[in-house]
Assembly symmetry: C2
């Protein structure tokens, strides 16, 4: 297997990216193709013993920064590591593309200029994978499509279910819709209509769930409109930071608590590790014609390695072909 890694993805590029590639090549034994500024990559690679590892370097003249506008760089930087990396996958020289870089740019470049959509797919979806009580739950769409349409969301459900089954090894994945209540009649018009469609699908659809249920791990796949999904993941993240900041402040506020906080540090660390999205590393952009895994810009080498692992699982699960087939089946059934 050949995984193409954007070496210019993280905020501290290319050090964590290159180190992550080394760790992954060592642990998984697959070929990692680093794409980006060749010289900068070499400087980092020289810090490691890579003699027995399958690591290749491809030069990319340009790089896309985190705050650059996707619609602009998609056209203005055709030689970026994201463009060239995805092209390698398109041309069959790589099996998957992994980046910790600009999510919007990766989405735009994949969808509109390189890999493009799987023919039957109406809109690719950005996903997030939450490690909930040690079990992975995939959420989609978390930001690619504000004002999602019913048909798009129906496809998100199918794609998410296939990914959960094939890449996350979840048997007969439980698919739910995020809503503000489980009862009949809850939700907005969009999500209610998606519900009736999914009830008639052959997915293991379990109905609406609230955020509380989701964080209890009651579903394997949670479908939502991209606007709501993006606000959802940002709300959960913001709530975590808020609570932690406040706890930290209060722990420092009296000497006994400060001592207690110091003693309980291992517990805090374990909690952080269990919730850590770095264990998952990245999540797939589903619906494009190739495996694309996108992680956080703040990723360290460990997170980069995990994202590469995620890509390996997606390739092994043959998710792109499965999605093609799964969606065609729906189209056939609908037309039957």
């Amino acid at each position: 297997m050949r995984i193409v890694l954007d070496a210019m993805g993280t905020d501290a590029r290319p050090a964590p990216d290159v180190e992550g590639a080394v760790l992954a090549a060592r642990e998984y034994g697959e070929t990692i193709i680093l794409i980006g500024n060749e010289q900068a990559i070499q400087v980092e690679l020289n810090k490691f013993d890579t003699s027995n590892l399958k690591i290749e370097v491809h030069h990319a003249e340009e790089q896309i920064l985190m705050n650059e506008k996707p619609s602009l760089v998609m056209k203005s930087k055709p030689l970026s590591s994201i463009h060239l990396g995805m092209k390698l996958v398109k041309e069959g020289q790589g099996d998957a593309f992994v980046t910790m870089g600009n999510t919007g740019a990766a989405h735009a470049i994949a969808t509109l200029s390189t890999l493009r959509r799987i023919p039957a797919v109406k809109r690719p979806a950005l996903t997030a994978i939450y490690p909930i009580w040690g079990q992975e739950t995939i959420l989609l769409d978390v930001g690619a499509n504000a004002d999602s349409k019913i048909e798009w969301m129906e496809q998100f459900a199918v794609m998410g279910s296939i990914y959960a089954e094939k890449a996350l090894a979840r048997e007969n994945p439980r698919v739910a819709t995020l809503s503000n209540g489980e009862e009949e009649g809850k939700g907005n018009q969009l999500v209610r209509e998606v519900q009736s469609r999914l009830r008639e699908s052959n997915l293991n659809y379990i109905g609406h769930i609230e955020p509380k249920e989701m964080l209890r791990g009651t579903a394997d796949v949670v479908v939502m409109d991209g606007y709501v999904g993006n606000i959802f993941i940002k709300s959960v993240e913001a709530a975590f930071s808020y609570l932690i900041d406040m706890l930290r402040q209060e722990i420092r506020n009296d000497i006994v608590s400060t001592m207690g906080g110091a003693l309980a540090r291992p517990a805090f660390r374990r909690t952080r590790d269990r919730m850590d999205p770095r264990g998952v590393g990245g999540a797939p952009l589903l619906g494009v014609n190739g495996v694309v895994i996108i992680g956080h810009g703040s990723s360290d080498a460990f997170a980069v390695k995990s994202a590469i692992k995620q890509a390996i699982r997606a390739v092994e699960g043959n998710v792109v072909a499965e999605i093609k087939q799964g969606l065609e089946k729906i189209v056939t059934e609908t037309n039957a």
Copy 2:
């Protein structure tokens, strides 16, 4: 001032409700009218020395349970404590109505059968008041109106701004729209259109904010569609519980952390107190023709007292008249 309190609101009715009324009557010196099952209320009242307090009891034959369907009980239980309590306010025998009971029922009964809307109001909004870093932020709509329209949300902004100024004593309140990003073009179609409207209003509109910014206290009023708002408040709540549950589990997981956790308990308690919605007690249903404050069913006496305080602030701030005037001004300006 005369505050009507639903004595049958909390899950443990009527004990916390009655005790909250006693605490409030003692602390604020205002008249509290307890409405509900007279006998049950008296049993609780007898536990306190109420000799110098202005507490009255009004009997209500029926009570509405937490899980009852608003649209049903609105018609089937015309003698409920919510119906009769709101009628007292409508008839001028009370200045505000406070309940810890069924939110949907309170909304339906206020809007459709007793107080009704302020004439210019298109849709009343449920609000939440967050104590963010010690400063109150009002969010609306948090659940009354899934599929909100632009004009409704524009009114939410006006009503929220008036409440923040008049009841929460915030000067020139900063009004924001909740979105998935601050940049131009972020958001869904609805929130983008609301943004252009608010930019042209005479409110102190500061633009879109993300959940992160909201929890930093960058706005006093945050406007959102009722579906998104309801998911937002539920997500934040779910994220807090999830993190706390996990921390608790990890703290118990080794003996040193357990000791540390015990020592740091005061810090945990202070954190909980600072985030505690009980300090706010309840939040207004804005847009109905009278002050209505709704709190949580799980409220204790302290939270009930705080909700009564919230009602007193709303009455003192003359918010209903201010909203009438504020919305008429918009209508006049729009037609000018």
